[in-house]
Symmetry: C2
Subunit: 322 residues, 2 copies
């Protein structure tokens, strides 16, 4: 009987559910909008459970579901899976693990999306040969996950890996968290858009007219590729701050590989990955730089599902070894 | 037969060797100068081995030495114990573990001083009830050690825990490592002395005359206690940068306790510990701040010996469990 796993990737805008073989083949996917702005958590969790049941029905009786896992935005406690105060979802104190298990009547592994992404990389991605791995996502925000000795490093209550809230410049931009110059406030997609907004009110208005619309990180990338100097300078700032932040993390963790993911990183990789690598290698000690890999994720938008699958497999292996 | 361990704490200025019971009682100590400036590594390692032999002789035949361990300044590789390029000792590529084992004809656990200090805290100090602990030393430099799940987190080659080389202010002071605004360049004893040097050439020359001698961190502390405004401002800067750096680490690791040690921290604790605690608690997320302890080490100058003893005990326990 083929062994399968089901993963749920709960995002701020959409929920991706997947039926997968334990080898990492994604057999079926379901994608529904999250609608966190209009629906209460209970309704959204109902829909997540419905998606899982649909995938189970499609799997049929001939195949065995070995486990369920869900990746959710942080901050989320570990191991209890309580979403604390999520800026992405607007949820507060939602017992996601408990609510999913109640609806599905079986155990659901619930983890922080970036922690599971890191584990997915370790099992299926760029990091699969490295026991000491950092995963950093650059998207609307910046977050991370830590693999130490082949396992997620959760910290005491699941809060580890908040790389976006490391201050890299105390004279930098104000962050929603109340500090100033957090990596997230300096180098996320939101930060890039904000910098473009500031700088376009200045002398350079060289790139496309937005009719009053805010410029996005993607447009800054396009303008930079076309040689626009302001856009290039914005991305140079991002490389400087992100490079400095990653170099800090390399000194703190001495990893074998840093895997980069997230929409902004993937969308801008052709312009920023090379200078970012150079910046990090230039800043770290020889002991830390020797053999260090800095790579883009190869798992793309499915990284959350792969993370869920990796968590299911790791739990299986642990139970087998007991 | 009582079970004993021998620890060697190799520092930049002195070498402390201790004979200890596995319960943490220090029975005998030997203290010799390091003389790294005038003696080659081989001679210094000879003397370390001599100290160990003397302690063994004092222990006599009636007591069993369960293990030997040595704490050395980083960067030092793990598990091979090679001192890479130590600014404290001026040593380069010294195979300390190999050289000690050759001389003593038995296994010697060799670790980075700050890693072993963290383990010593976990076994014998403030952190003894916490599985997730960070140790930070503020001395002439700034370094650290990470305890995760009750064990030292070494990273891939032993380089983890270089908290002093996290940039906290890219417009800050130049660091010997080539970056700018490293925590060590902003808040170590050396940094405090440097700031005093800069600021005393200005309007305020209120505190004692040095006859051209450089001001030390200790003197800045004394002046601050006497109400000197420049000295107080220097220490306020140190609290700001150290507090910000510790808050970064709390977001990255989500520890239960941060233990502070090192000569500068211990010497200035009456003035800086309280504002430092307030600063960190003010900057961290509720998830990370809940229950977080920030404490001064209770092991004082013996922390290196306790770290060695903890490493000996942990290895014993692991061997017993196999």
């Amino acid at each position: 009987m083929p062994e399968l796993g089901i993963g749920i990737d709960l995002g701020g805008t959409k929920i991706l559910t997947g039926l997968m073989t334990l080898d990492g083949e994604i057999l079926k996917r379901r994608l529904i909008p999250t609608e966190a702005g209009t629906q209460v958590p209970a309704v959204i969790i109902d829909r997540m459970a419905d998606s899982v049941r649909e995938l189970m029905a499609e799997a049929g009786q001939a195949q065995k579901i070995m486990g369920l896992a869900c990746a959710a935005p942080g901050p989320i406690t570990y191991p209890h899976g309580v979403i604390m105060d999520s800026p992405n979802l607007g949820w507060q104190q939602v017992r996601l693990k408990h609510e999913l298990e109640k609806r599905l009547d079986q155990k659901v592994i619930v983890g922080k999306d970036t922690d599971l992404a890191a584990l997915g990389e370790y099992y299926f991605g760029q990091g699969c040969q490295y026991e000491y791995l950092l995963y950093i996502t650059v998207s609307t925000g910046i977050g991370g996950g830590i693999i130490a000795d082949g396992k997620i490093y959760h910290g005491t209550r699941g809060g580890a890996g908040e790389f976006g809230h490391m201050v890299v410049n105390p004279s930098g931009y104000y962050c929603f968290c109340g500090r100033r110059g957090c990596l997230e406030a300096q180098a996320s997609g939101t930060a890039i858009a904000k910098m473009a907004g500031f700088m376009m009110t200045g002398a350079d208005k060289g790139w496309q007219n937005h009719g009053g619309q805010a410029v996005t990180a993607r447009e800054v990338g396009t303008a930079a590729r076309q040689g626009n100097k302001v856009a290039r300078r914005i991305l140079a700032n991002v490389v400087a701050d992100l490079g400095s932040g990653i170099a800090n993390l390399v000194h703190i963790f001495n990893p074998q590989i840093v895997v980069l993911g997230g929409g902004v990183m993937q969308g801008l990789q052709d312009i920023i990955l090379k200078p970012l690598r150079e910046r990090v290698m230039d800043e770290v000690f020889p002991l830390h730089g020797a053999g260090l890999q800095i790579e883009l994720t190869s798992l793309g938008a499915d990284i959350g599902l792969y993370g869920c699958l990796a968590a299911i497999i790791q739990e299986q292996d642990q139970n087998t070894n007991l």
